[in-house]
């Protein structure tokens, strides 16, 4: 999907922390309005830093940010009423009840009492929080806290949602509901920027994907376009006896020249490359011939995780 008008425009954005870590390194990005954009990347790639800068919680070291056509440095208050940011960490008061938390922030955002009441009732029902609203946040499970955080962001109905890993810790049903609610907001013309580690969710639900690594933009585009351009087939297998540091493993796979990426973790092996479908049997037989028993074997079509694995080239993608 081609962005029509930018909801966020980032130019030459850099952020260095006092400890010397360079979280963002001259990032340029333009994101379209009215769509769900998933920001992906390995740990330390600058995803959360980017979101915090967009939310006005962190000052960049260099560069400029335009949100909803406004300069974040010049119009912070106007933006606070139009941008809803949900941080990765709880940022909740454990002594307050869920209902008290929602009411409190509704008031601070200037929601009318009628909008507050209707919004809380609807969201609590949608996100399965209704039975827990009167309980203190300290007694909430991790998933319930995430649901409360999501409710807070959704209740305020901002023009732009900035959500940092909102689905982490929520059960699959809750995740589906949350994504559906976000897509609904997007269909109403609101924009959603969501940091996630979940490739499957991003592939299924995002209109646009941004992949960061070491504070720089690797690629961006629709999940479909990225998969067509960068995706590769994968074989995921589990070794029966030997571990992935067994030298026979690499030796036995060497003759299969089409392998582009090899991810090893414990006894789990992920092989990625072109035309692996027709090589599946060969992989299996090569490993067997080298004396490496295979316990589990799975072939996967090109997907977003393969894009990530190929471009980032680090461990972690297939585990998400």
């Amino acid at each position: 999907m081609t962005p029509i008008s930018p909801v966020a425009a980032v130019r030459g954005l850099s952020k260095s922390y006092r400890n010397g870590v360079r979280a963002l390194d001259g990032l340029n990005l333009e994101l379209g309005a009215g769509q769900v954009t998933a920001i992906l990347g390995p740990n330390g790639s600058g995803k959360s830093t980017l979101l915090r800068i967009l939310a006005g919680r962190l000052s960049p070291t260099a560069g400029e940010v335009l949100l909803l056509g406004l300069d974040t440095a010049r119009a912070p208050r106007a933006l606070r009423s139009r941008v809803g940011y949900s941080p990765q960490e709880g940022a909740l008061d454990p002594e307050m009840t869920g209902l008290g938390t929602l009411r409190y922030f509704a008031a601070l955002h200037g929601l009318s009492r009628s909008a507050e009441k209707a919004g809380i009732g609807r969201l609590a029902e949608d996100l399965g929080l209704s039975p827990h609203l009167w309980r203190r946040v300290s007694s909430y499970s991790g998933g319930e806290r995430k649901r409360l955080q999501a409710s807070l962001a959704l209740l305020l109905e901002p023009d732009l949602f900035l959500l940092d890993e909102p689905t982490g810790g929520i059960d699959p049903e809750g995740r589906q509901i949350l994504w559906r609610l976000l897509q609904k907001r997007s269909s109403e013309g609101r924009s959603v920027l969501i940091v996630t580690q979940d490739m499957e969710e991003a592939e299924a639900s995002a209109d646009h994907v941004v992949l960061l690594d070491r504070g720089r933009l690797l690629v961006e585009g629709s999940p479909r376009d990225l998969i067509v351009k960068h995706g590769r087939e994968r074989i995921e297998l589990t070794l029966a006896g030997a571990s992935t540091d067994d030298p026979r493993l690499r030796e036995s796979l060497k003759p299969l020249g089409t392998i582009e990426a090899l991810e090893l973790r414990g006894r789990d092996v992920t092989i990625q490359g072109r035309g692996l479908a027709r090589l599946s049997d060969h992989v299996f037989s090569h490993l067997e011939a080298a004396g490496l028993g295979v316990m589990g074997f799975r072939f996967r079509e090109p997907d977003l995780a393969s894009v990530y694995l190929r471009l980032v080239g680090r461990a972690g993608a297939s585990a998400q």
Partner: protein, 255 residues
């Protein structure tokens, strides 16, 4: 804005009353001063202008000021907790004006401290302290206490926003409370203090405050606008403004 102030104040009160131990301690500490000092020095001869009054009569207004001093200087601790949980950052991410957020917090603490001081005052009277304030002088005394409370609560919140560590707050509380207390007229009349301390006491806001309360309670004398209320008001306004600025700065660093 009124709704935001009310919401922040309501939350501050709820959190205070959910910590009965801290609340009880903040009430008991001045009460112990009243009981121990009041009876320990009950035969202490006061200077001529206070002839006919007991040390307990003299001490009660001082302990009311002390209640506000001790309580307000700990106002910021809650902000440190909020900062550590990230809740403060979430609050500062809303479009609510920083002044309204700060006002709600400070007003809640000051209102609670005024209630504590009033309760302590009634207990002191029940213990035998003399008090004959007129309604007008009592209103001036309450205003003086409120202004001192706003000053110290604002200062405490500013330190908390800057320090972000409970240990620093503990050091601040001791660093501010004891010098302010012992260089004020809360425990002794100015004329009976060593000359150096007597001189220092004239510039001490706690002295202005306690003298206003004492004048009202013992002599039905309204607080002086020029020499008591105005300086206290200016101090409160300045420290409140600094506090709001500190909160705005914290907003930019809350990422």
């Amino acid at each position: 804005m009124t709704r935001i102030v009310a919401e922040v104040a309501r939350r501050t009160w709820q959190k205070t009353f959910r910590r009965p131990v801290a609340l009880t301690f903040s009430f008991l500490q001045p009460l112990l001063w009243l009981l121990l000092f009041g009876f320990l020095f009950r035969r202490y001869p006061l200077e001529a202008s206070l002839a006919g009054y007991s040390y307990l009569d003299f001490l009660l207004p001082g302990v009311c000021g002390m209640t506000v001093l001790f309580g307000a200087s700990q106002s910021g601790i809650e902000l440190i907790r909020d900062s550590q949980t990230g809740f403060l950052g979430r609050m500062l991410g809303t479009p609510a004006r920083r002044g309204a957020l700060f006002l709600g917090k400070v007003l809640a603490d000051v209102a609670r401290l005024l209630l504590q001081a009033a309760l302590l005052f009634l207990l002191g009277v029940a213990l035998g302290a003399r008090a004959a304030p007129s309604p007008g002088s009592l209103a001036g005394a309450l205003l003086a206490l409120a202004l001192l409370g706003i000053s110290l609560s604002s200062l405490s919140c500013t330190i908390a926003l800057k320090a972000k560590a409970p240990e620093t707050m503990a050091a601040f509380v001791h660093l501010v409370n004891w010098p302010l207390l012992f260089t004020s007229t809360a425990l002794l009349p100015e004329r009976q203090m060593p000359p150096l301390l007597a001189e220092a006491s004239r510039f001490n806001p706690l002295t202005l405050d306690v003298d206003a309360v004492r004048g009202a309670v013992l002599f039905s004398r309204p607080a002086s606008f020029a020499t008591q209320l105005l300086p206290l008001f200016l101090l409160a306004a300045a420290l409140f403004g600094i506090g709001v600025a500190a909160l705005s700065r914290a907003a930019r660093e809350s990422g």
